[in-house]
Symmetry: C2
Subunit: 454 residues, 2 copies
């Protein structure tokens, strides 16, 4: 990829300039980069190098330093800040929008974050602190409270003047219109202002229906609205419909990516916020609980096998084919589970389509079971010259693949109904379930047909 190659070149230069101490050249190079690219470069530097480069930026170009920190994501960014004094952090945080600031503070060590907040409150409006008062993963938490709004009584000419003097507002896609008490009453666009004569009242050219979200709306719902209505931003209102902020599409993209990552990781029994850069100790702590649950469930499967120990003692060949039944069931269930979980995440599943999906998956389960069961039966017959053993394996596979498909549909739907994230550890439970059903049906059938088995 061209972009990756460019970043690698910058990375090499940064390392070299740092080594030879060419500070002026280094600063010059850094200032030519986009903060997002600098964040990538930072990610590949050694800890000591990263601190050195960051210190240089803090000293010479605080804004760029903090924009880079923002782009690194709050967790990594906060780590870079942690070594500094509360005074310095409070000052640096003024360089970035308060939603980004709030996210960073959230990841600072508790004592430090309290100090920083205290300092910021004394200094300015307390915007960051009020953002932190909203629940996690809500619109209030990710919105930018600096939203540009026009009073409904203005004319177009007055609106343009107001806009010209609002240098602070970075991106103005939609012009929100509010009444004297800041209730959201309409929306218009820059382009529409240009299409009418200057004395036109704003009220005449605004659209009174505005899609908005409330401060306590879940960020996933915000993302869904922005995505499905193709919006560039959505205004955030409080419980009285007063305009308090705006969520822009770039924040929504981050939400969509994070939610997809979270789903993917949770399905595999990994905590939703683990990244490849998470230190070994922390990753171990986060993964161990799932594996511990899995250990318990694995022993449940083992106990099922233990019930049939007598049968295995008489026909040792059964042990050979146990992994086939269990493995196939686990994989078929994971296929179904993943399709259903993703469908739920994308909002494609209603209760009526869920019934249809269940019927469909049951059908697929039987179809797969028959097709693969026949092949497996033939192979087992060939390997052990025992047609009954083949028959038992084939039948067990039909049972297990049918159960795998229905359970793979019902488990996530049930979790959704119980308002638990369907992605959460579903695969651990489903594979145990198919192990248990697989061993029980295979060894159970073998016990029934024991007298015909060699």
């Amino acid at each position: 990829m061209a972009a990756q190659r460019r970043i690698d070149v910058v990375l090499d230069s940064v390392k070299r300039l740092l080594r030879i101490g060419a500070t002026a050249n280094l600063l010059n190079l850094l200032q030519k980069q986009h903060p997002a690219d600098l964040a990538s470069v930072f990610g590949s530097l050694l800890d000591t190098e990263r601190q050195a480069v960051f210190s240089l930026l803090v000293e010479r170009n605080g804004r760029l330093a903090m924009e880079t920190v923002s782009e690194m994501g709050p967790e990594e960014g906060a780590k870079l800040l942690t070594g500094r004094s509360a005074e310095e952090i409070a000052k640096l945080l003024q360089e970035i929008p308060s939603d980004d600031g709030a996210a960073l503070i959230d990841y600072l060590p508790e004592e430090l974050s309290a100090e920083v907040l205290e300092l910021m409150r004394r200094r300015e409006s307390g915007e960051v602190e009020s953002l932190l008062e909203y629940g996690e993963q809500t619109a209030g938490r990710i919105m930018n409270p600096q939203v540009f709004a026009l009073n409904e009584d203005l004319t177009v000419a007055e609106s343009i003047t107001a806009l010209q003097s609002s240098r602070d507002v970075e991106m103005v896609f939609y012009l929100y219109v509010v009444d004297a008490r800041r209730h959201l009453v309409g929306v218009t666009s820059l382009r529409r202002l240009l299409l009418v004569s200057p004395e036109t009242p704003l009220k005449r050219i605004m659209t009174p229906e505005v899609t908005s979200v409330r401060v306590d709306t879940d960020q996933e719902e915000v993302a869904r609205q922005v995505a499905s209505y193709n919006l560039l931003a959505v205004p955030v209102v409080d419980e009285e419909n007063k305009l308090v902020g705006v969520v822009t599409v770039d924040d929504v993209i981050d939400v969509i990516k994070d939610e997809a990552t979270e789903d993917l990781l949770r399905l595999a029994g990994v905590s939703g916020d683990e990244r490849i850069s998470t230190p070994a100790g922390e990753a171990l702590r986060k993964r161990l609980p799932w594996l511990a649950i899995n250990l318990v469930t694995a022993f449940v499967a083992a106990s099922v096998v233990a019930i049939f120990e007598g049968t295995i003692q008489q026909v040792t060949a059964l042990a050979i084919f146990m992994p086939v039944v269990a493995g196939m069931g686990g994989n078929a269930a994971t296929q179904t589970l993943t399709v259903v979980v993703r469908g739920l995440a994308l909002g494609e599943v209603s209760w009526s389509s869920a019934r249809k999906a269940l019927a469909k998956e049951a059908l697929i389960g039987i179809g797969n079971g028959l097709a693969l069961g026949v092949i497996a039966a033939a192979i087992a017959w060939g390997m052990k010259s025992d047609p009954v053993l083949g028959l038992v394996l084939g039948m067990a596979m039909v049972v297990n693949l049918f159960v795998a498909a229905t359970a793979g549909t019902l488990i996530p739907l049930g979790m959704k109904a119980l308002k638990v994230d369907p992605a959460l550890g579903s695969s651990v439970f489903i594979t145990t379930f198919t192990d248990v059903v697989g061993f029980a049906s295979f060894l159970g059938l073998a016990t029934v047909f024991l007298r015909y088995l060699v």
Copy 2:
């Protein structure tokens, strides 16, 4: 969710009005909805209902009908169109942007799509056809060729006039500046036009560095650029740097969602384009190959067990604990695999960080192996009153979890190096791998210690 509830209410009303034949009321209700909401409603209607509602819209409000079809996604949308004549489809397609049209045509039955294209070519510029000439999943395929551009020799006043007369352009976030031969030379914004005097030459207020992509850039790379630079749109140029289109952020959101879905599904051995609404027959056909591969690999694992059949014959209890070793290895490997695959997809992994990740995962593997191995050993000892059996199980778990972690890192990195999608079926291969290693180490160690086992 409030939005879902609202859609359910609309859905019920649509069904009711359709049943009693209240066409005027129905049309009235439909026209009040956003196309994205209508697409959701369409998704929950029965086939006959959907056709009836769609026919009504086609007759009375062709634009809304086609906007709804666009929002349904090309596959579902094309199904709705398939029953109609090529003439009608060609006419309807004029109601939507040509990138959406091209996507729909791509999913029509081959004969019909050829006819429609032929009709469209005769009628207009052939825009749709030329979009279809770009490779799949490239910028050229998802761009909108109707991009508004200003000539570099204009003044600000002339630019505003040009903008006022371009009623067709839906969203103008960035104003791209081109030279006489349509080479992309700069970018500016509406807001900047308003901040300077009308006679200022455009050249003076434009930014000459524009982030652009080429028609053949992969859509995933386009999405990465838009997301990391927080862009609302990115211009698309041909090999001579001539401006030929624009990809907007709403298209990028679709790409990001699709790519995340694809990764998630592929990891589970499901084809990347399967959805919960995919018919049973098609889903079966798409999943069966992966399960067939899995059947082969499952028999590979079975063959490993077969090697040790003699050992199992002497100590049947080994069969009981086989699922524990294999299951734990499979789950630990899936954890590692998922973190690495997602890191690769998000572009967070460089070759230097890959080495660090491998070391980290190996460490986690040993840590998990020791912690869980000790517990598993104790349980097995308790269950079978045999300390040596416990010891063998514990040691096998340390080996298997270490191998699981390293393989979980190396397999996706290797696939990436071979330019194969690391998500593709990785989990099928990794679970076989951990099955083989698990059985080999557990039964192999048991064979070595056979004389000490009860």
